[in-house]
């Protein structure tokens, strides 16, 4: 099966190269058969990548310990569930998984648009094939997952050998979230290839109008949603598994996933400027280009060893390949832009500084500055060593100082932006839209202060969260009231009706509300407490309103590990509440690694987070580390809401609300048979 998989990948590369080179020839010659054959080669590439990936999974399921990759990342007792995850647990498999997810996207695009957008699709196909070819080169010649174990025989010739068992999967990856977090994150990273392919394709083809934006938007939203889910699940995994009481440590690998998310978010906002007003065309194209390049950079950073991270893959020699690919991508984008920049001229102008357009400009500025701050902070140790020879660290304190103020400004604009009108906002409208939310937030923040919420950043964050939440609720209330006046239906029914009439607008509000929840959760971090103590059985410790009593410990056997469990009784006001079981797992593989399992009692107010930190080396007493983390649950709720909002925004409107965009072209000669002028487009309502 390893030869079969290896051959499938090689064939996929051949098809990919044909889809790329043949696609360029098809664009030049415009020969219909060539166009068709390259599209089919693109589809064949995807199918062959699927075959290669399933072959590797088959090797895991059949415990084929002649395969070097299977030996390194699996063992006999590993459950089937984690054998699926073992696929992407190492460098070679993770790159194959990149190709696999990308192939799902590419195949979907090729099938969905096989009879549509005939002028644009060959360009899109070439760009997608180019990206696929790069990753298939890595899969075949640089980091092949189909290497077999071999040992020199008596005659000095290498013979294939098989081991009786494997080294096992990294214990930290043996958690349900690690099965779903990487696929989500990869779906985000790879998904941005599609908007990139459409943007570059449209620029190269000088594709008229804003249709490529329409086609791209949903793909960008899907990629963005997966990226958000991936980041959230990664944060939750770090929180629930690593046992340090936090969810975000500004580690280079975490930062790498945040970078395309920031530029992708900026794009999803600024794209509305192009749709509604025909503005910011250059900006949007470059945002898509940058987002894609940041995805590739993130993939590079986590695999090259350029920046040190405990979460990164092992160091390898793929760095120059990625640097070459990013450079080539940048050059292609630059040349395409310079050659066709007149195609990206803005159609409209700004009427007022206090307008939706201005808020989008500032929103984009903040997202981009946040992105640059994270990127420069992540790479600064490398630059410092290059220029001065001095090794320095750039850790969480730096990122917190730099990015928290930017985050708060973005939060402020989250409330302000959607309530400003396109073109111009009148003072009356400002008063009507902002008066009550500002007053509500001010009163609530004062109450919160009186109740002890007194850390400056947290209080500002809470105030802004309340302001944004109030503006969103007010928007839903106003819209629902209008519908209710006509239909007489209940408020919840009217809210649903309102949302379904303009899914994009109200889905966007739901996403904003999700982000408010996330920020509420983040604001609680300033009030975290923790206590650590070596405890005898029957001894207690106090944290916040809770008393923890270590009752006893036991051992929980599992085919793959042995868990040492602490039995910790939790009391509140001297009343028993529950038993928590933090545990330490000892994995029975060749490497004999350890893992933790945190016990968490989670409420909307706070998380009681209990870790068994091992035995004290001097006293041999079990060490219990307890944290009291306020408001953490809001972060996970916020994440769910963001996904729900994105899914809502992806749904078609129940009844299309169409808004006429301005045109700079004379509307005199336009017989019905003529195609519509490119600047005349009636778009989904999103006021």
């Amino acid at each position: 099966m390893d030869v079969f998989g290896s051959f499938a990948l090689l064939l996929a590369l051949v098809c990919g190269v044909y889809a790329f080179a043949g696609g360029i020839a098809a664009i030049i010659t415009r020969h219909p058969l060539l166009v068709k054959s390259t599209r089919q080669a693109g589809m064949a590439t995807c199918v062959l990548v699927f075959i290669g990936t399933f072959s590797l999974e088959y090797l895991f399921f059949t415990d084929n310990f002649a395969s070097a990759y299977v030996v390194s990342h699996s063992n006999k007792d590993l459950s089937t569930f984690y054998k699926i995850a073992a696929l992407w647990s190492g460098m070679e498999g993770s790159l194959l998984f990149w190709s696999f997810i990308l192939s799902i996207y590419v195949l979907s695009v090729l099938i969905a648009y096989r009879n549509k957008n005939g002028e644009l699709m060959p360009y899109v196909g070439v760009v997608m094939a180019g990206v696929q070819t790069f990753f298939l080169l890595l899969n075949n010649f640089v980091e092949s997952p189909f290497k077999s174990l071999a040992a020199p025989g008596a005659n000095g010739i290498m013979n294939l050998v098989a081991r009786s068992d494997g080294n096992g999967l990294n214990p930290l990856l043996q958690y349900p979230e690690m099965v779903i977090h990487p696929p989500n994150l990869y779906s985000g990273y790879t998904g941005f290839t599609i908007p990139f392919a459409f943007a570059l394709g449209a620029l190269l083809a000088r594709y008229p109008g804003e249709k490529w934006i329409h086609l791209t938007r949903k793909w960008a939203m899907i990629a963005w949603m997966f990226q958000s889910m991936g980041i959230m699940l990664g944060a939750h995994w770090a929180y629930a598994v690593l046992g340090w009481g936090g969810y975000w440590g500004w580690d280079p690998v975490e930062n790498a996933s945040l970078l395309p998310w920031l530029t992708g978010t900026a794009f999803l906002h600024s794209v509305m400027m192009q749709e509604k007003r025909g503005m910011m065309k250059v900006w949007n194209v470059w945002l898509v280009f940058c987002t894609f390049m940041l995805c590739i950079l993130g993939t590079f950073l986590t695999r090259s060893g350029v920046v040190s991270s405990v979460h990164a893959f092992a160091q390898s020699n793929i760095g120059p390949w990625f640097v070459g690919f990013i450079s080539l991508t940048f050059l292609t984008c630059l040349v395409a832009y310079l050659k066709n920049r007149d195609y990206l001229k803005s159609e409209n102008q700004l009427d007022s500084v206090i307008s939706r357009e201005s808020s989008f400009l500032f929103n984009n500025l903040l997202f981009l500055v946040a992105c640059i701050a994270v990127l420069s902070g992540t790479l600064f140790p490398v630059f410092s060593e290059w220029f001065t020879g001095d090794r320095i660290s750039v850790g969480a304190p730096f990122f917190n100082k730099v990015d928290i103020p930017i985050g708060l400004l973005i939060l402020f604009l989250t409330g302000v932006g959607p309530l400003l009108a396109w073109r111009k906002t009148s003072p009356d409208s400002l008063k009507r839209n902002f008066g009550w939310p500002l007053a509500f937030a001010a009163v609530c923040a004062t109450v919160a202060f009186a109740l002890g919420f007194r850390k400056p950043y947290s209080l500002i964050c809470l105030y802004l969260c309340l302001f944004v939440a109030a503006t969103i609720v007010l928007e839903f209330y106003r819209g629902a009231t209008v519908i209710r006046a006509r239909s007489g239906a209940s408020y919840p029914a009217c809210v649903i009706d309102l949302t379904m009439r303009n899914t994009r607008r109200y889905g966007g509000y739901i996403i904003h509300m999700g982000m408010v929840f996330v920020f509420v959760g983040l604001s609680g971090a300033a009030f975290n407490k923790d206590v650590q103590k070596g405890m005898r059985f029957g001894e207690s410790m106090h944290i916040g309103p809770y008393t923890l009593v270590l009752q006893t410990s036991d051992t929980k056997p599992n085919p793959n590990y042995t868990a040492q469990r602490m039995v910790v009784e939790v009391l509140r006001d001297n009343q028993p509440m529950m038993i928590l079981n933090p545990e330490k797992r000892h994995f029975l593989t060749a490497k004999e690694e350890n893992g933790t399992m945190v016990a968490i009692y989670s409420t909307l107010k706070e998380d009681l987070y209990v870790v068994f930190a091992g035995d004290d080396p001097e006293t041999n007493l079990p060490v219990i580390h307890a944290f009291l983390n306020p408001l953490v649950k809001w972060i996970w709720f916020g994440g769910v809401l963001v996904v729900f909002g994105t899914l809502t925004a992806l749904m078609p409107n129940r009844r299309a609300v169409l808004v006429l965009a301005g045109t700079t072209q004379p509307a005199a000669a336009h017989p019905a048979a003529q195609p519509l002028p490119s600047s005349v487009s009636l778009r989904e309502g999103h006021d």
Partner: protein
């Protein structure tokens, strides 16, 4: 006049909201010294044991070979009553400047601190420049644009609607 009053009202509400922040006592709930100092250091540097580079007091590297050792040293120094400066210097002497969790605000490292502010200011200047440039467009041209849009005949509007519906249903 109405415009001015609206802005004054909004400014007043914003100030009211910020009031608690302005009068909040600084560092009202400080953590203990060891945690505070440990938060300024990273583990896993200057050694081949592990290379995790996590904040010393929040190291999330399961099985980290350094953090417990460094925390013990830190606790001893704090218990002895050493000044923060001398504790940090002792760690720098042992592990190098890499042990500091944030870059120093001097020399080449100062660039790391200045860059975000520079980008923010340069970006803000650029946005203001773009806005002012966009606003300088002659009013007559803008009016012609909206008139042209309004002058679209019903057939074209109907076709555009149908096309937009198709495009957005993709």
């Amino acid at each position: 006049m109405t415009k001015t009053r609206t802005f004054v009202a909004i400014a007043a509400l914003l100030t009211l909201g910020m009031l608690p922040v302005l009068i909040a006592p600084a560092g009202a709930q400080q953590t203990d010294r060891a945690k505070q100092i440990g938060g300024k250091l990273v583990c896993g540097v200057g050694t081949s044991l592990c290379n995790c580079k996590q904040i010393l007091t929040q190291c999330n590297h399961v099985g980290c070979m350094n953090s417990s050792m460094m925390l013990k040293t830190l606790d001893e120094k704090v218990a002895k009553g050493d000044a923060e400066e001398s504790i940090v210097q002792a760690f720098i002497l042992e592990f190098g400047r890499e042990v500091l969790a944030e870059p120093p605000k001097s020399g080449f490292s100062l660039i790391a601190w200045l860059m975000p502010s520079f980008y923010l200011l340069a970006g803000a200047a650029l946005v203001i420049f773009v806005i002012s440039r966009w606003r300088k467009r002659p009013a007559a041209e803008a009016a012609a644009t909206s008139q042209a849009a309004m002058a679209l005949p019903p057939e074209l509007l109907a076709r555009a609607r149908a096309e937009a519906t198709r495009a957005t249903e993709d």
